[in-house]
């Protein structure tokens, strides 16, 4: 039942609005709305009941094991949420002067420093609002860098075929052409193809390492040389740093720019789709191009011109700032690629990431990498014992690994999707299905470091049951799920007969 169907004409929730209707006569009638918008007319109780009951229809980390590859569905300590929502943090206006926000700015500054250390980069901007926007910022900086040197012939970004879809899409949004290169049988970039692809038109390469195939790109240094020698820059899609936190730094691998999904590695929850934060880190040569604003501490190594009073981040001129922390603006970074949001990105998400990082500390970061890797390799070994085909059995798993259901499908007709749906009935969120596309019938499995061996073993047992069912009673598996609020949905109908909004007439 939709909230609109719980609505009753002219029912009012008096507690949530001024008791008296204010006068709007000063607005000309021609500018006023004539019809009433379709919003629910329900009591607070009806609304609370509706959304409480709806929430129970979700699988989530707080309720289920959720080994969704490339998504790092690890547990987010509740303190991150509670403390990021302290009333003073929530109440502050983005344009309030810096001296009224030294607490939050100190946290952001410190988070920048932490990310610099973890990634081995020279500077960080926290502003991008998700991974894809971090990619945008990164590629835009590469563009600005080449442009600032008058190097305008570089029109291509190279992207391995295993890359996340955001990579090629981002390159295009930044005005580049995308050149795809293949992956070899070990899951590494095909170096010959890469050598053939580079040239004076190469602006850069976008790489995920460990890759979306769940393996560490062993020839990373060769790749770096090939790209740098061609005059291109190296972009690191660090959406997921879980497997390498404290183990190896992208900066040390030679990357020029990196984005990191704080909503994955730094455990800010995914909220059913977002918000996230895609902080970008850069090597020294890209510092001038960082997206705005960046938090500075004074006295600071960056030479700070006096505040400008302009918009976001400026301390109002006149209140000559004695604030320790402030935002750098266009005046400080005139070559910046600019602002990516009206104000200052997803501050609330950044606070959650900061709290998480402070709780981890140096040791905790190491532990994240170790347990994420241990869990993935253990699960890989155990699933292989059950009979599942591992895509790259000769490799170590990083934080994730791929099972191909191709052999299973050939033998039983049961596809990766069938396995996924059947897992729902067993109380598990399925792994990522059909990504990366180059492995047929694939399941990308990422247990994360926060799951216990007991949970992994129970998951293996469920996968074993499904394996057996696939051979004994394949129709049972094909019909799954049976225990969810709905059975398999008709996606074709959804796309063909678009029904994107509820209409009163249907009531």
């Amino acid at each position: 039942m939709l909230i609109f169907e719980r609505s009753h004409p002219s029912r009012r929730n008096a507690a949530q609005a001024p008791h008296a209707m204010a006068d709007v006569k000063s607005i000309p009638a021609a500018l006023l709305r004539q019809d009433a918008p379709l919003l629910p007319e329900a009591s607070e109780m009806d609304v609370v009941r509706h959304y409480t009951n709806l929430s129970q229809k979700n699988f989530s980390i707080d309720t289920h094991f959720y080994p969704l590859g490339s998504c790092t569905m690890k547990y987010n300590p509740r303190a991150c949420n509670t403390l990021a929502m302290l009333p003073n943090f929530l109440a502050r206006h983005p344009l309030a002067p810096a001296h009224t926000g030294q607490g939050v700015l100190a946290c952001l500054y410190d988070l920048q420093e932490i990310l610099k250390e973890v990634t081995g980069m020279a500077g960080v901007s926290l502003m991008p609002m998700a991974g894809a926007q971090g990619e945008f910022a990164g590629i835009a900086m590469i563009q600005a860098y080449h442009a600032s040197r008058g190097d305008t012939a570089r029109t291509e970004i190279i992207v391995p075929d295993a890359a996340h879809g955001t990579n090629p899409a981002t390159a295009v949004m930044c005005g580049y052409k995308v050149r795809e290169i293949p992956t070899n049988a070990d899951g590494d970039v095909d170096l010959d193809a890469l050598r053939a692809a580079v040239g004076p038109q190469t602006a850069g390469l976008m790489l995920t390492n460990p890759s979306t195939l769940g393996v560490f790109e062993t020839h990373i240094e060769d790749i770096k040389h090939i790209i740098h020698n061609a005059g291109g820059l190296l972009y690191y899609d660090g959406a997921n740093l879980n497997a390498i936190l404290g183990k190896v730094k992208p900066g040390d691998m030679g990357f020029d720019v990196i984005h990191s999904n704080l909503h994955k590695t730094f455990a800010t929850p995914h909220g059913g789709g977002g918000p996230g934060a895609g902080a970008v880190g850069v090597a020294a040569r890209l510092l001038p191009f960082l997206p705005l604003p960046v938090v500075a501490k004074s006295p600071s190594s960056v030479a700070l011109p006096s505040p400008t009073g302009r918009g976001v981040g400026g301390e109002g001129a006149g209140t000559e700032s004695t604030a320790e922390y402030r935002y750098l603006t266009e005046a400080d970074l005139p070559l910046s690629i600019g602002h990516l949001s009206a104000f200052t990105g997803n501050i609330g998400v950044l606070l959650r990431a900061y709290i998480y990082a402070k709780m981890l500390g140096a040791d905790g970061m190491h532990r994240v990498a170790e347990f994420a890797t241990l869990n993935a390799n253990y699960l890989m070994a155990e699933l292989q014992k059950v009979g599942y085909r591992i895509a790259f059995p000769q490799r170590r798993a990083s934080h994730e690994f791929i099972v191909s259901c191709k052999p299973l499908k050939d033998a039983t007709g049961i596809s990766a999707m069938d396995v996924a749906k059947r897992l729902l009935d067993k109380g598990y969120h399925p792994p990522t299905t059909y990504f990366p596309m180059l492995v047929p019938e694939c399941l990308l499995i990422e247990p994360t470091e926060t799951e216990s061996k007991e949970t992994l073993d129970a998951f293996v047992a469920a996968m074993k049951e499904i394996w057996d069912e696939a051979h004994a009673t394949p129709d049972l598996v094909k019909g799954a799920p049976y225990t969810m609020p709905v059975r398999r949905l008709d996606d074709v109908k959804a796309a063909r007969e678009l029904d994107l909004t509820w209409k009163v007439a249907q009531a």
Binding site: R12, K57, T63, G272, K453
Partner: protein, 459 residues
């Protein structure tokens, strides 16, 4: 576990990383804090940021948020779920989003809505890109100077790399709205869209009918940039203007079907920031961008879209749809690179709108308007202070001051008041101009306090 893997120690699992690349310890990081320690750290930080009585708007608005909104939104089942890729295990999130789409489409008067973009400013950039895709022949967008400077600079950062030109349209110094004469000079020129802000950055109400008609008459799309809360009161973007679109809209299917309420008038795309619908100010985010459009443009829309369908048993269910527009399917040819959006904020907004309902949203909008009117009235009673423009406004207005706004603001801040946004850097031509806002959260006493502080500050 190591035995099962066949290694002797965890370190062995990292043996594919070239040894000389391995990092040592993360020296700049301290030891981990336990929750008690980090709680104290954060409470101490928060204690430094005691909020002042706030009269700044300028794109982020202080509204009362019902307690139920965030108590429900932060339930683990919403908060810690991923994007609803597995529809059967995500009917909660998916239904919320479908309800959200319905509410937003209705508020804006458009046919369809996506499931959110990052924020209003980046959403405006996406709308521009979408308009260019839909229009096909032009890469120029007309952008009035009455559009938020923050939005203009953000949109510029994003669209410039695709060689899109933003043409600034000046405003009328008397009304604080788009200078129609200046706009008229672009008649006949090739442009993909005109951005129409309502209310505009000055809080002034544009003649949206005339602007929409003008855009359509001149072959461009009309992009409405709206405050969603204001739409409880103001004409919805889908009903702006009365001039049929000159050519069948591009974008493929649907243009010739008799759509439900198919509109031959109205803005083509409506975008804005959803912050007023339940997102706390939070120093700037997370908020969310919303985007609605006409049915004919739906396949040009970026971002996720939820559709209603049926399951194997014919039972209603919800699922992500039109995914072929998105990067994870279409990759380089996607409508945008956006992947994660601002889902949780949308959950909050949906609950917010449900709790307020049509009547409540309208009352909040009206009370905000009335408070701002009253504030302007009181302030302009002070000698030397006047209202800068004469167009009708919504909940925000520009005051002319006898002294630099920065000075006045610093003074007011000392008495615990955030007096507004100083326009001098963005609109130097306005001299000592201050953008002030009062929402429903302000009492008469608050307004009086503002006025007293302002008076003292300019004395």
């Amino acid at each position: 576990m190591l035995a099962s893997i066949g290694v002797a120690e965890i370190d062995a699992l990292f043996d594919e990383i070239p040894a000389h690349l391995k990092s040592g310890s993360l020296t700049a990081l301290g030891a981990g804090l336990n929750e008690m320690q980090v709680a104290r750290l954060m409470r101490d930080c928060a204690a430094q940021d005691t909020p002042l009585l706030n009269f700044i708007g300028a794109g982020a608005y202080e509204h009362h948020i019902p307690a139920a909104v965030w108590e429900l939104t932060t339930r683990g089942e919403f908060y810690s779920a991923y994007t609803p890729y597995q529809a059967e295990a995500s009917q909660g999130t998916l239904q919320v989003l479908y309800e959200y789409q319905t509410m937003m489409a209705s508020l804006t008067g458009m046919d369809v809505s996506n499931a959110s973009l990052y924020d209003g400013a980046s959403g405006l950039a996406e709308a521009m890109l979408m308009a260019v895709r839909a229009h096909k022949t032009s890469r120029r967008i007309l952008v009035p100077a009455t559009v938020s400077p923050f939005y203009r600079s953000t949109a510029h950062s994003i669209v410039k790399l695709q060689d899109i030109e933003l043409v600034e349209i000046p405003y009328d110094r008397t009304t604080g709205t788009v200078d129609m004469a200046a706009l008229a000079q672009h008649a006949g020129s090739d442009f993909a869209a005109l951005v129409i802000p309502q209310p505009n950055f000055f809080g002034a109400l544009e003649d949206v009918d005339a602007l929409t008609n003008w855009a359509h008459a001149n072959g461009g799309l009309a992009i409405a940039l709206v405050n969603p809360l204001s739409l409880a009161l103001l004409k919805s973007a889908g009903t702006w203007g009365d001039c049929p679109h000159p050519t069948p809209l591009p974008g493929g299917e649907g243009t010739n079907e008799p759509l439900r309420g198919a509109k031959t008038f109205g803005a083509d795309i409506a975008v804005g920031d959803g912050q007023p619908l339940g997102a706390p100010l939070s120093s700037g985010g997370p908020y969310f961008g919303f985007m609605c459009c006409k049915q004919a443009l739906v396949r040009q829309m970026p971002g996720r879209i939820i559709g209603r369908t049926v399951d194997l048993d014919g039972k209603q269910g919800f699922t992500l749809t039109l995914q072929a527009r998105e990067q994870h399917i279409r990759r380089a040819k996607a409508t945008s690179n956006i992947c994660s959006n601002q889902g949780l904020m949308v959950t909050a907004a949906t609950i917010f709108m449900s709790l307020l309902g049509q009547d409540g949203l309208r009352r909040v909008a009206a009370a905000s308007h009335q408070n701002a009117q009253r504030l302007a009235e009181l302030a302009s009673g002070i000698a030397g202070v006047s209202v800068a423009f004469n167009a009708p406004t919504f909940h925000e207005t520009v005051l002319q001051l006898p002294k630099p706004a920065a000075e006045v603001l610093a003074n007011m801040a000392n008495t615990g008041i955030l007096g507004g946004y100083d326009l001098s850097a963005d609109y130097p031509e306005l001299g000592n101009a201050l953008l002030v806002c009062a929402t429903e959260t302000k009492t008469e006493e608050d307004l009086q306090q503002f006025v007293a502080a302002l008076q003292a500050a300019i004395a």
